[in-house]
């Protein structure tokens, strides 16, 4: 009974709009008082130990690295490079958006940042070439959402620290599905553009590819530094993020030369408060995780699920559905913070690979970024295009459908995710 009231408080509070950190904290207060009989000082103690973490420091550093790069003038270069690769195909500019999303995802840790950067340039360009406005908005929002799956990814860092899974492995695991997401959009855009008769731009030439590659070289080197550094045992993920930020500062100031000293305070403040928004929930969820573990809730839930679900696939399908639904309501990092302590132990009882499970969670939640009514990417493109969310929603549904289909493909072919991490083991 206590557990029903506990989850009842949690879910009803979240649903009526109590900020998630408070909802987690207060439902835990209830459990601490009634079931566990431990002093409430435990809440402050756990919030402290959650933030007293060197690993979480990777979050602001990755945010800084991405922001320094995009403010440094790399956006144009990456888009030019994508243009030289796929611009000549049918629906060329829509393809350029999808490919730039993949490249941009590799220097930025969040989806909204990628959407904003690409949208700032591509929306105007696409409209001038006659693409319809809702389609343009949908393509840019969808193209940006891969940013959260392709490493570095803030949400994967959050999962890695909470579940105690190697962030390096998770990053490599995100590559396969992230690239697949991007390429599937490319194919879908091709067919949509063929129907509307939107053509390609320019022609294919190796010379152009070479020239624009040199322009983007310094940006594309960043993911190599991050992953190479972590996998070469040269530095920890947090240090990798710090090195990447310093590298991005250097590139922005001295190579692309569009970064200005006076922009720094604003960029840093954005990274700080973006981090704090996540860390507030992480801190409140630490005591939540402690309380449900002490009350053996994940264990009991696991026992129950193993009796209901005959095998891990049924369990994973069930998890996919929950995540896809939750993803439409809260942002991916918040969903990971709430669900990891509950679902991770159950996944372990089914013998599911922890890296696979984490990346699959993020693949699900990423879709929430482009799902109405509250997908963050939709708000970003809606602000740029002045279109209502409803109008964009109609154009984005085909993309959501192919992404959801892929989630189930990943579920049954975990190699798509685990291939790269296993290769480097």
């Amino acid at each position: 009974m206590t557990y029903f009231i506990f989850f009842g408080i949690l879910l009803s509070f979240i649903f009526i709009g109590v900020p998630i950190a408070y909802a987690l904290g207060l439902s835990t207060v209830y459990l601490l008082i009634t079931e566990l009989e431990v002093p409430l000082v435990l809440i402050a103690q756990n919030m402290f130990s959650a933030t007293n973490s060197y690993e979480f420091l990777a979050i602001p550093f990755f945010m800084l690295a991405g922001a320094f790069m995009s403010h440094g003038g790399v956006t144009k270069n990456l888009i030019n490079f994508s243009q030289s690769l796929v611009g000549h195909y049918r629906g060329g500019l829509a393809q350029v958006v999808a490919v730039s999303g993949i490249f941009f995802g590799a220097i930025s840790g969040s989806a909204a940042a990628v959407t904003a950067a690409i949208g700032a340039i591509m929306i105007d360009v696409m409209e001038k070439k006659g693409y319809s406005r809702p389609f343009t908005a949908a393509v840019v929002a969808a193209g940006g959402m891969v940013g959260i799956v392709i490493p570095p990814s803030i949400t994967l860092v959050v999962y890695g620290v909470i579940a105690g899974v190697s962030i390096g492995d998770l990053f490599l695991g995100g590559f396969g599905p992230g690239v697949m997401y991007g390429l599937s959009m490319l194919v879908l855009s091709y067919f949509i553009c063929r129907k509307h008769g939107w053509g390609g731009e320019g022609s294919f030439s190796w010379k152009n590819i070479g020239k624009s590659f040199i322009g983007s070289f310094w940006a594309l080197l960043m993911p190599v530094i991050i992953l190479g550094g972590i996998y070469g045992g040269i530095f920890t993920p947090t240090e990798a993020a710090a090195v990447a930020s310093i590298y991005a500062l250097f590139v922005g100031f001295f190579i692309y030369r569009e970064l200005k000293i006076k922009d720094l305070p604003k960029i840093v403040a954005q990274a700080i408060y973006g981090t704090v928004v996540i860390m507030f929930i992480v801190a409140a969820a630490k005591v939540f995780g402690y309380a449900i573990t002490s009350a053996q809730i994940p264990h009991k839930l696991g026992m129950w699920i193993t009796t209901v679900a005959p095998n891990k696939y049924v369990f994973l399908i069930f998890v996919n559905i929950i995540l896809l639904m939750l993803g439409t309501l809260v942002n991916p990092s918040a969903a990971v913070v709430i669900l990891t302590p509950i679902l991770y132990p159950v996944a372990m009882e089914f013998g599911i690979d922890p890296v696979f499970f984490g990346v699959l969670m993020i693949c699900n939640l990423a879709i929430g970024n482009i799902t109405p009514p509250v997908g963050l990417d939709l708000f970003v493109v809606s602000a740029v295009t002045k279109l209502s969310i409803d109008k964009i929603a109609k154009a984005i549904y085909p993309y959501i459908i192919i992404l959801v289909m892929q989630v189930f493909v990943f579920t049954f072919f975990p190699q798509i995710i685990t291939f790269l991490p296993n290769l480097f083991k």
Partner: protein
């Protein structure tokens, strides 16, 4: 609201932001210097890890005050968006504000207790009293309570204004 109070609050807010920015940049260079030190001078900064964690704690707890002030906490706003400008929406807002207040006060009181106890423990590398690091909790959440209450007062005032504006029509 009293203009002087608002001005002072904005001043605190401004200083908090500037201090956090400085600390974050410092952390970035500290972490980078540690890597450089390890590989170039084969010597790492022995306190870098600990110092970085402690400063991060301060940044987060002070930052919570700022995001509460700016109403940036993650929440599911479907219901409150639908009810905004209605009386039931105001009741909901009040309930949510109360939830926040209860939680923040629990954290604040816990933080005071912890920082007092922890004054007697010193940290491993820097050998400073842990209580100084723990002080981030009561100071951060104390500020958060202030911002939280001020936000609520603003909500109430706005609600009263709107009611007043509606009344003449209702009388007709």
């Amino acid at each position: 609201m009293n203009a002087k109070i608002i001005r002072n609050i904005e001043k605190i807010n401004f200083v908090l932001e500037k201090v956090s920015i400085f600390l974050m940049l410092f952390l970035l260079f500290l972490t980078f210097a540690n890597v450089v030190g390890r590989y170039v001078f084969s010597r790492s900064i022995f306190f870098a890890d600990e110092m970085a964690r402690f400063i991060f704690v301060w940044i987060v707890f002070l930052g919570i005050a700022k995001i509460v002030k700016d109403k940036r906490q993650v929440a599911v706003t479907l219901l409150s968006d639908r009810l905004s400008d209605k009386k039931s929406g105001f009741v909901l807002e009040s309930f949510i504000a109360l939830c926040g207040l209860v939680f923040l006060i629990i954290v604040f009181l816990g933080g005071i207790k912890l920082s007092r106890t922890m004054m007697f423990y010193s940290s491993a590398a820097l050998t400073i009293p842990m209580g100084i690091v723990y002080l981030a909790i009561p100071i951060g959440s104390g500020l958060t309570v202030v911002f939280h209450v001020l936000n609520y007062i603003e909500t109430v005032l706005e609600f009263i204004e709107k009611r007043k504006a509606l009344k003449p029509e209702a009388l007709k």
